[in-house]
């Protein structure tokens, strides 16, 4: 028995200029909000942007984008619906608020299925929101999307940095392309404290995102997110990411 889906994955992603996977290792460090806001920021600046939520147990990108009822368009596959200029694919479109309790091989199966049937079309950026941990989703993205770049997120917390370090070690060992390290939820007294971690693993320190108390109230309303300090800090990272991207089309 041969799984035929693997053979079309490369083709499905072939028209995407850059694939950026947002990872952290530790949960609760703000990956989903960063991935979603980064996608919104890119779309706002006229980049063709996709957002792929691969956090199957706790999908949240649709919440950040304020997605309501979804109608999936089919055209020789599934065309990801667009919200605020961002093409989004999420397990939530099929699970509808219900928990999906899967074991390891099923996680891989679900990931491969979504990769095989989703027709992203031409994009400048695809942002992938990966779940915490070093499990199937992270390993399968490393295996199946060779050209992905990893954006590692950590907070200045010792616990978060400890897991981020394990993740950096793993990514280095498998020869993955690490875009850089982002520090989230930084306070005045600890801002930049994760920089030595980036230096230790010779990855770029992309910047600090300040802890913004007003962010929570803006979740689900992109126009409000655009007014936050969080967004201002994300924009600085966005500017670094966009270097060298040609949008002529």
């Amino acid at each position: 028995m041969i799984d035929p889906r693997i053979s079309v994955i490369e083709k499905r992603f072939s028209e995407i200029k850059r694939i950026i996977s947002v990872v952290s290792g530790k949960g609760g460090v703000g990956k989903t909000v960063i991935a979603s806001t980064l996608a919104l920021s890119l779309a706002k600046n006229n980049y063709r942007t996709g957002l792929f939520d691969l956090d199957f147990y706790g999908p949240g990108c649709h919440i950040v984008l304020g997605v309501g009822k979804v109608f999936l368009e089919e055209e020789k596959g599934i065309i990801p619906p667009k919200f605020h200029g961002v093409s989004l694919m999420s397990i939530e479109f099929f699970a509808k608020d219900e928990p999906v309790a899967m074991r390891g091989t099923e996680v891989t199966d679900a990931l491969i299925e979504l990769m095989a049937i989703t027709r992203w079309g031409p994009l400048d950026f695809l942002i992938i929101d990966l779940p915490p941990g070093l499990g199937e989703e992270v390993l399968d993205v490393i295996r199946l999307l060779r050209n992905t770049e990893f954006l590692v997120v950590t907070t200045p917390s010792k616990l978060s940095m400890m897991v981020a370090e394990k993740l950096l070690k793993l990514l280095k060992r498998v020869g993955a392309n690490i875009l850089g390290l982002v520090e989230n939820m930084a306070l005045t007294h600890n801002m930049g404290s994760t920089k030595p971690l980036a230096e230790k693993y010779q990855v770029e320190f992309l910047g600090s995102i300040r802890l913004d108390e007003k962010l929570e109230a803006a979740i689900g309303v992109p126009e409000k997110i655009f007014e936050t300090i969080f967004f201002k800090d994300i924009q600085k990272i966005f500017e670094k990411l966009c270097k060298g991207i040609n949008t002529d089309r």
Binding site: S7, K11, L72, V100, E113, I117
Partner: protein, 134 residues
Amino acid sequence: MHEWALAEAVVTTVLKTAEEENAREVLEIKVVLGELQQIDIEVFKFALTNLVKDTIAEKAQIILEIEPAILKCNSCGYKWKFSEVLEKLDEEVREAIHFLPEVSHAYIKCPNCGSVDFDVIKGRGVYLKSIKVR
């Protein structure tokens, strides 16, 4: 037309395999369709027939086998057939499982103990069973 995407995967795999075998022609393509995914056989076959046009698999005999889906509860060990619960699922749920079979865990539970921790031991989705070339 989600079937088209999966048919495209099958044809891509067939042609790649045939090329690796230095084949001149593909004579037969045997595909297993797991019942859980509820593939529309006519649409799938139509897509396959179209996708093999102008390739070395154009004249291949296409054989589609439906594999009944069997589920097994990880909590109590009970086994049951997907066909036994299919009728109880509404159209929207069936479509969700059709697109992504793993979301069956959101809508199906063990008829014996009620657990959602089950394995699909047979009949999940689309597999290429064999190809004959020369």
